[in-house]
Chain length 255, copies 4
């Protein structure tokens, strides 16, 4: 396995595809929005991204079979503009792996002719609001102008960390039109409301409609599943460190 | 030395070999079981795996000679189905090294014609039970069905961390049939009982019989040896950091 | 993207160029001095250095567009001796990346015919002084002799960490004449005064004059901007770790 | 610069050379012994080892010139058996770099025809003793037998961490005869007495005599110099992290 390996499952001919990215981040806002979009639009998986920089573990599925952790690409056929959705349970573990995984993601995007990318995330404010706003940042003034028409708020300052930021930064260097949409959120809680606010704007941009009813419920299930995996993994990891005491010592040596 | 180096000592022609992996993890359950199986079946070493991602150290043996830390492959001749046993005192130190070492392990397995792999581990529950159960996860529904007949319990949810999980995840991508057997264990203590429960199921699956008498005693010796190595290594490592104060500072800079 | 990528924007024919480096460090002294020099001399950007070892993030600019974090090379035309200025908001994250980025920086310097490099930094004393002294270290006795004539103080002992040190150490191996100028500073505060002291010496060495009026004000703006980016990035990073709990656990496993 | 770069300064034809390694470790015992041996025998430097895995910094020397941190190889002409001495202020920062640097060290050793290597270190006991014992570990029973005749004590158990261990482990795989000599020491203090005990045994093995008078004094100077470098580097490093707050945050993200 290379550092990052992309497994292409199907090679659909996509029509003017727009890519939507939603990986874990603040309030899980981006991931919840992308996962819900995927479920409602019944996307079809066409590629999987594996990496030695994702956590070294498998997830046990309902039927007892395992799945190596990965990021997944789905496509949805629409009139005029198809949609590619990128989801996953993890981002790269180290800073340099964030770059490498984002580069491979852009390679897939370009291979399937994606010209525009929307990355989804949360903007933590420490406040709980009734009607979360949607903030943006983008690779060009043209896309900013367009997004302002959909009510996206642009204010300079600050930065964007991880995949949602790097896809913009690296996409910009490749000449891909990218924007990051950030739902206003508290920051410490999993926030289905902010994901809904994001989707309201995003669906208008994409010219589609989706049902939001199951979003809240899905947020709870996501939290439950992640907790379950986390509990089991944590105890294994800690044990590995404890039993294998010497090895446990060494890593502390690299601090 | 490459990042991972496999030194082949002998090239036995193996007959339908099944591989059993037991590296350090929860309660040392997997390692104790594999080490005991190896001793009872009097396996013969045929390959050694070295890696720059194993701790940078040697172990001092009884006679004063040293041994560079490694993982070791043994084989056992059986009627019909030979057995390959993989043991070692360490797993890879970094997440990406876990992937690289597991890939090399699968390379060895395929080179010697292994078609099925059982990885052994513990499932930490926080409870001490009289009769530990054996849980499983696997790469296909077929192997799950077969293992259920031996009393292995499959329930979805959670995940498997480290070599025992990655061999399944990466093996699945290569089309190798793999299952992880996990002995129910407290999680904080070295658990010979859980290892015995594992071996009772595993030996039935393999169609062999072994004596369990020395397992308890071996668990104590393993703990003693690991403590001894750990104590000596820890003081050296700490001293290296302290004396070499500047270098000690730098690693904290990468935090 | 390679580990370090240099994007050449323009290929000016430079006349005996001297390079001045000012990246973040003690009291931001070096960065403030280099940034101010750049503004006053109205340098023109000719190259950008990107690296997977810089933080995985973009900065959001005033107009809402993003910029991938990088280091930047500017040139200034002078009678007789042109000046190259290297600035940036970050140094490499890991020790080995410090080496790799410094090597690429020297490659650019040599490509554009740079024969002398001045790196700028602070020397932390824990004291606040009215008239900060300027200390030095260099690659040869000849340059030390010359710099002493400008009032630079040389006293043996100690070391220089990061880009300001490595450019000297690696430049020395390549036969490039390099000196590090360090402004005396408290160490815990952003220090425009020490930057001014540095610039007073450096401009004499370079035979130029610049206005210092806006330096103080610029120091405040720099601090404000860095705080703003920091606040937004920190909350995103922490959220990523929290939501993605499993992944959060793994990195702690590599400690 | 490659990950590890060896710069050969001179190519002496060595006569049956024995290599002695002394890098920082417990009580600085090995480093003090090797440095003293080097000074007394007036070794001549013939090679320098640089690495991106050594700390990213230069040391400022008495005259104000800088030196990039490195490991250094010296040779000493003796009747019958020449001696190669390896010294330095640092070991590799990460576990894998320990392997890579040790491999390069063995490459140099073999290139100059070294057939036997003695690595020097301390064995921390937590006690202060009047007459420190010398313990050993080695790559073969033959060398153990020989060393016992010089009073070196061999008792199984424990391990050796870092360069002093890896040179044995990796040397063993290459068929080089290696032994580690460990001076009994408290572990928390710089211990010239243990270094003297080591040298008393080592000089007998090598069939040479050296004066021990300056050893104590040199130990104090070594401690003073290391403290001075450490103090200056620490403040720079901390400042770099503080000023460059965002970057400071990121590394904590990889924990």
């Amino acid at each position: 396995m290379d550092e990052v390996t992309v497994k292409i499952i199907e090679r659909p001919e996509l029509n003017n595809p727009v890519m939507v990215e939603g990986l874990p981040g603040i309030g899980l806002v981006g991931k919840l929005a992308a996962d819900h979009l995927l479920d409602e639009l019944k996307g079809k998986k066409f590629a999987e991204l594996y990496s030695v920089f994702l956590p070294p573990q498998v997830v046990i599925q309902e039927d007892g079979t395992v799945k190596l952790v990965n990021n997944e690409f789905y496509y949805v056929r629409r009139n005029g503009t198809d949609i590619v959705i990128l989801t996953g349970d993890f981002q790269g573990i180290t800073p340099d792996s964030q770059y490498k995984i984002s580069e491979s993601t852009l390679d897939v995007a370009q291979q399937f002719n994606v010209k525009t990318i929307y990355t989804l995330g949360g903007l933590g404010t420490g406040n709980i609001v009734k009607k979360p706003k949607v903030y943006g940042a983008a690779t060009s003034k043209e896309i900013i102008k367009k997004l302002k028409e959909y009510g996206v708020i642009f204010k300079g300052g600050g930065g964007i960390f991880g995949a949602s930021g790097l896809l913009l930064g690296l996409g910009q260097l490749r000449g891909i039109e990218c924007a990051c949409l950030m739902g206003e959120t508290h920051g410490q809680i999993i926030d289905a409301k902010a994901a809904e606010a994001l989707l309201e704007v995003l669906t208008k941009i994409l010219g589609i409609e989706i049902d939001m009813k199951k979003l809240e419920e899905k947020a709870k299930m996501t939290e439950r599943e992640m907790n379950e995996i986390s509990k089991m993994i944590t105890s294994q990891r800690e044990a590995l460190e404890r039993e294998q005491r010497i090895s446990d010592d060494i890593p502390s040596y690299i601090r």
